[in-house]
């Protein structure tokens, strides 16, 4: 936050006072609405006028479905309701009590939390390590790594999923072949997706591979903001490499780290195509995460009510996880 910005934000009415006098020509009427601080004048509506299209679209394309989602989760809504043969029936909390009382649902919740948590931690740690490494390597190695980072960042998720499927293919995957080369290891034909935990670990790798570049590039940008003098000073005071990182670098990067972690939590809890495509559109029970589970309930079993209830529980789980970030956002709203 630059000082200039803070001041302008605090005193817009003064700095953008309307030019006195009516002599602004024929467009005066229209232009008078363009003043920042015209809180009392006809200009007060201008920002809202500018916002109107955006807010309208958002309310229509987002607000309405959200309301519908909540309504659905309290309804019995299946095939007959979809085709309009039957009215949707309100069943109160039935959908929720059913899923919350279902052991399978809790297994899915636990799996999702472990999966997303693992992916987030791995992404952040690897991202930080690579960002730190990038500061140290020679320029041409740095350039090489940057190209690779951008290439994997820009890779469509669906393409990345296809590639990983190919790498981990049981019979012809290059990974099995490579591991097989190690002495005493028999890996050809090993099916990574025969077991849930192993298969999900592969999917986690895929998610992390796709997420690391964004984290590295953002953290690298952040690292350039760390004043060299501070690091020098810490070193002179006898801090080791870890000490400098822990007490100088980390605190300065904290806002960026919090933002990246929050975004990662949101993205990794919402992982869908990776699981869906890796399992050819039919994830086995031990591969189900909340997103695919909700999707299956809604579109495979045609129980839209329960599917919505699961989706809603997911949203609340997420809100809980990112509550910290929400508070920070509110603070941002205040300082501006």
């Amino acid at each position: 936050m630059s000082a200039a910005e803070t001041t302008t934000a605090k005193a817009p009415a003064v700095r953008h006072a309307p030019p006195p006098g009516p002599g602004a020509g024929p467009t005066a009427g229209k232009q008078s609405g363009r003043q920042d601080g015209g809180r009392r004048g006809p200009g007060a509506g201008v920002p809202w006028l500018l916002l109107a299209p955006c807010l309208t679209v958002l309310v229509l394309v987002l607000g309405y479905p959200l309301v519908r989602l909540v309504a659905l989760s309290f309804q019995k809504f299946g095939q007959p309701q979809l085709w309009g043969f039957q009215e949707a029936e309100n069943v109160g909390l039935e959908n929720f009590t059913r899923i919350l009382g279902d052991g399978e649902f809790w297994a899915v919740v636990l799996r999702t939390v472990v999966f997303a948590g693992g992916a987030v931690i791995l992404t952040m740690v690897l991202g930080m390590l690579i960002a730190l490494l990038l500061q140290r390597v020679s320029p041409w190695v740095k350039a090489l790594i940057s190209i690779v980072l951008v290439a994997s960042w820009g890779m469509p998720i669906i393409v990345a999923t296809a590639i990983f499927k190919w790498l981990f293919d049981a019979d012809y995957g290059v990974l099995n072949w490579l591991i097989d080369k190690l002495p005493g290891v028999e890996m050809i034909g090993h099916n990574w997706f025969a077991s849930g935990p192993q298969g999900l670990a592969v999917i986690m790798l895929l998610v992390v591979w796709g997420a690391v570049p964004f984290v590295v590039i953002t953290l690298s940008a952040g690292l350039t903001q760390v004043p060299k003098e501070l690091e020098e000073a810490a070193r002179l005071d006898g801090a080791g490499a870890w000490g400098v990182f822990r007490f100088v670098t980390l605190p300065i990067l904290k806002p960026i780290i919090v933002m990246l972690t929050t975004l990662s939590v949101i993205w990794d809890m919402g992982v869908f195509p990776q699981v869906y495509v890796m399992r050819n559109g039919h994830p086995e029970p031990e591969f189900q995460v909340l997103t695919t589970y909700s999707f299956d309930k809604a579109f495979v079993v045609n129980d839209y009510g329960t599917g919505s209830a699961i989706a809603l529980v997911t949203v609340f789980l997420l809100l809980g996880a990112v509550a910290v970030y929400m508070r920070q956002m509110l603070k941002i709203g205040e300082v501006e």
Partner: protein, 262 residues
């Protein structure tokens, strides 16, 4: 160390390209080759043959372009409002637009599906465009705001002192400075819309599938045809990665400005 990171991160991409140019029988050789023994375009021909390629690509193109045009036009006005005006309720709008991005797409798919079904927009490109706005619009507002915040207000003020109206100052001074940011935001938004999978899968039938869903055609009941699939992947990824390469620096700047500067 650096080279190790380079190799590990880059390998999946390399393996895709490598497989794409290999003869199909080499792809399923139990002893994989790290370079194609013979360089062939056969897989690309095969990829185009397995399923209609240009139809899905055309549809993706139309959807992504329209979404970006609407997103930029509408998002620009909103970004301007929250970055250049002080008004009551501004905080709520900012937090609201940010919070909207946290709603996972998957949670929305059920009501969106039912809604489009009711409106008769299921399996229509317009329906897809409307739904894509849910994630493109907040993103556009937020990044454009990041770019606008970086343009000093003093420039506008100077122009107004010189006799420009507020709108005039914006059009003549801010707009040209914002242009690179707008291009970057458009390209980035385009890529996001292009890459979307879930909605495209759910809201469009087989006849109207988009490019991302098209890739699924290589997975058949008799297994996956990897060599053509990698060729298809290459065709889908290369243009996107190149676009990405062109704007990512700019984008990173805009995103960090948006995140750090309030």
């Amino acid at each position: 160390m650096g080279l190790l990171v380079f190799v590990t991160l880059g390998f999946p991409v390399y393996w895709m390209v490598n497989t794409a140019f290999k003869p199909a029988k080499d792809a399923i050789d139990p002893d994989p080759h790290f370079f194609p023994s013979t360089f062939t375009l056969e897989n690309f021909r095969r990829a185009l043959e397995i399923a209609d390629f240009w139809g899905p690509v055309g549809r993706s193109l139309v959807v992504s372009l329209v979404v970006v045009i609407i997103g930029i036009a509408v998002g620009m006005l909103a970004a301007l409002a929250i970055s250049r005006f002080a008004f009551r309720g501004r905080k709520i709008v900012i937090v609201g637009i940010l919070a909207v991005q946290m709603v996972p797409l998957v949670a929305m798919i059920i009501p969106v599906f039912l809604l489009l079904n009711d409106l008769g927009q299921y399996d229509r490109l317009t329906g897809l465009i409307i739904t894509y706005l849910t994630f493109i619009l907040p993103f556009t507002v937020w990044t454009l705001r990041g770019f606008i915040v970086n343009i000093p207000r003093e420039l506008e003020e100077a122009a107004m002192v010189d006799g420009c109206t507020r709108t005039g100052a914006f059009v003549r001074v801010v707009f040209p400075l914002l242009a690179p940011g707008m291009v970057a935001t458009s390209v980035y938004g385009f890529i996001q819309a292009w890459n979307e999978y879930l909605y495209a899968l759910m809201l469009m039938s087989q006849q109207n599938q988009t490019a991302t869903v098209w890739l699924g055609n290589f997975i058949t009941k008799n297994g996956t045809e990897y060599a053509p699939m990698m060729a298809g992947s290459t065709m889908m990824a290369v243009p996107i990665v190149i676009l990405f390469l062109l704007v990512q620096r700019k984008m990173a700047a805009g995103l960090t400005a948006g995140a750090v500067k309030g």
